[in-house]
């Protein structure tokens, strides 16, 4: 990858060093989880995971696999640090956010290890910017303990069908109620706002429905303000999987295809607001 800036001296060992031809592959994904200022980065041999949490109720993860990078080398088993996601995004998009065809920002990311700042080398059109972002002690992350064996209901939908719905959610409603059932209404999103209630029903045989595995009727409510940021991930994605477990914990997994056709994932986990067994109208 052509890079006119000084690459790190060969003598230095970097715990993490990665190169990406098009920084947008990273920045667009990070924007989809940017609902809090700080994020925790975890790098392993499989790739990079960036986690954002809020209110001890919601967690979003952006996964960029090692294969997406042109170069991805990690010297330790895992590298973890906390960083300001706002600053990271500002740096990644330092050459602007508009995507002119043919131009892209090249990125090289280096991290020496615990206590060191994250170094970013960004280049576009021969201009190079070097950024040093301080890192912090990683904090303990929530563990939703959500695994496929505990899933009660699962639906995979084409994102196209949900995008408008999420963008137009009645934000005067405090909660978003999700009903999943083997019987009617199958999959229903409900809000209870100032104007009245609104229900969005997706039948199981809809063309949008790629998979429908609902075993039990479940109705759960989630704080709408916590879920609203997931709209960004939805907008980027082509498919979304919606799963709930016995406690009503919600898992939203978004499959995102970048400009080069590579697949990345973003997932959101959310605690239910209250556990109710019947849909309330």
């Amino acid at each position: 990858m052509p890079f006119s800036a000084q690459p790190p001296a060969s003598g230095e060992r970097y715990a993490l060093s990665a190169s990406l031809d098009n920084a947008r592959h990273l920045s667009s994904l990070l924007r989809a989880v940017h609902f809090q200022d700080h994020a925790t980065c975890l790098a392993t041999a499989s790739g990079l995971r960036v986690t954002v949490e809020d209110a001890k109720c919601i967690q979003a993860n952006a996964f960029i696999q090692a294969e997406v990078f042109q170069e991805f080398s990690i010297q330790e088993e895992s590298v973890m640090f906390r960083i300001s996601l706002s600053v990271l995004l500002d740096c990644l998009t330092i050459f602007g956010t508009s995507s002119l065809p043919g131009t892209s920002t090249a990125l090289r990311m280096c991290y020496r290890g615990y206590g060191y700042p994250l170094m970013l080398f960004l280049e576009e059109g021969g201009v190079v910017t070097v950024c040093k972002i301080n890192t912090q002690e990683p904090v303990e992350l929530l563990d939703f303990d959500f695994c496929s064996t505990k899933v009660v209901n699962k639906i995979i939908l084409q994102s196209e069908g949900l995008r408008e719905a999420f963008a137009e959610l009645d934000m005067t409603s405090e909660v978003l109620q999700i009903t999943m059932s083997p019987d009617k209404p199958y999959f229903r999103l409900s809000t209870f706002g100032n104007a009245g209630s609104a229900h969005l029903d997706y039948p199981r045989d809809s063309d949008l429905m790629e998979a429908f595995h609902c075993n039990q009727t479940q109705t759960n409510r989630y704080k709408i303000s916590l879920l609203k940021p997931s709209t960004k991930a939805l907008a980027l994605s082509c498919k979304v999987s919606i799963r709930t477990d016995a406690q009503g914990f919600l898992s939203l997994q978004y499959m995102i295809r970048n400009e080069d056709g590579q697949i990345c994932f973003v997932e959101y986990y959310c605690c239910p607001d209250e556990h109710i067994t019947e849909a309330e109208l």
Binding site: G161, E164, E168, D170, N194, A195, G196, S197, A198, H199, L200, D201, Y202, P203, D205, S206, D207, L208, L281
Partner: protein, 364 residues
């Protein structure tokens, strides 16, 4: 309708679904009547001769929120079902969309009295009909913030449009825009020479956009200054009316600006006398049900004769409002063209009557 008022009145009748709005100063009223044929299915509900027609009103914003994005609606929504559930106090709007998706909105409504305007297009001296496009192209020359515009008839059958400048405005700081339309731009012109009226442009723009979008000709019925101007759109399945108060010549110099027409009522009562035909009765208000002595300037008109169907006279709209809706005086210097209700001696208070004013004026 949202350009007129904040509340949407719904009234399902045998002749169709009527949607109406009135502005806060009761100087503007609009109604859209969708004939049963407009719908795939129209069931007004069991309203026998004894049963009252069910009416309700909802917040305009809540209703509009359901139809937020028109382009996407056109692409994704197949049909819309509207159900009025009195017992559940809910107006249900269900959109059937692509991919089998159903969006159901349950809106809270308030029951209400009838909102009716009484106006008579037949009694207007002047009538103009033009394709909406002609008027839209004319109106585009005026600033978007312009409040009032004056429509006039000139020599050679020309029609003029001019922005209305308040008397208090400094001549050196005001800009006057005037444009003239030739008679042949109109589909029909039947105007009293030398007539002119001044009305609120903002409220008219709403109707104009609709007319342009639906490619319907717009008819303007007007009379002397101070008498309401009535705009109508006519279609086989839709009747649209917009009734606006017009500035009265009498008021333009003497009236001190006031935003509350009610406060003018005692002084203006003289003027109301002649406006028997045009007044709006809003169910809620009747401001100043004062009696109206004959006006020295305007001859006292006889009460609505049987010959003119009080409701039917919609000059512009095909749809007849079932009754007239008297309005309260429009803002500021507009004469109180519309008032709560007409009082005749011995009649019960305005606040309690919803009747067509025409009937009330028998005593005049």
């Amino acid at each position: 309708l949202s350009r007129i008022g904040d509340e949407l009145y719904l009234e399902p009748t045998e002749s169709g679904l009527s949607l109406r709005a009135v502005n806060s100063s009761r100087s503007g009223f609009s109604s859209f009547l969708f004939a049963p044929l407009f719908f795939q299915l129209y069931e007004p509900g069991s309203a026998g001769p004894e049963t009252e027609v069910f009416r309700c009103k909802v917040h305009m914003k809540s209703f509009l929120g359901i139809f937020r994005s028109l382009p996407s609606l056109e692409k994704t929504v197949g049909k819309c079902l509207i159900l009025l559930k009195p017992r559940a106090s809910r107006l249900v709007l269900q959109l059937h969309c692509k991919y089998g998706v159903t969006k159901t909105h349950n809106l809270a409504f308030q029951e209400c009295e009838q909102l009716q305007a009484v106006f008579d297009t037949q009694r207007c001296a002047s009538h103009l009909c033009a394709p909406a496009r002609v008027l839209a192209e004319a109106v585009v020359h005026f600033a978007p913030t312009l409040a009032e515009v004056t429509l006039g008839t000139g020599p050679g059958g020309k029609i003029s449009l001019r922005n209305y400048v308040e008397d208090e405005a400094e001549p050196s700081k005001t800009m006057v825009t005037e444009l003239w339309l030739a008679e042949d731009e109109f589909q029909s012109v039947a105007v009293a020479p030398g007539s002119h009226i001044t009305f609120c442009l903002k409220e008219f723009r709403g109707l104009l956009s609709f007319a342009e979008a639906s490619n319907l000709p717009l008819t303007i019925h007007f009379d002397a200054p101070g008498r309401p101007v009535i705009f109508t759109l006519d279609d086989t399945v839709l009747e649209v009316h917009l009734v606006l108060a017009t500035l009265s010549d009498l008021q333009s110099n003497s009236q001190s600006p006031s935003t509350n027409g009610a406060s003018h009522l005692p002084a203006l009562s003289d003027d109301f006398a002649d406006d028997l035909e045009s007044y709006m009765v809003a169910m809620e208000a009747s401001e100043g049900g004062s009696e109206r002595p004959p006006s020295p300037t305007f001859p006292l008109r006889t009460p609505w004769p049987a010959e003119s169907k009080p409701e039917e006279e919609e000059e512009e709209e095909e749809e007849e409002e079932e009754g007239a809706v008297p309005g309260t005086p429009p803002h500021k210097k507009f004469r109180s063209l519309f008032f709560g209700s007409v009082m005749t001696p011995g009649r019960p208070g305005l606040a309690t009557t919803q009747e067509v004013l025409a009937e009330d004026s028998e005593g005049e």
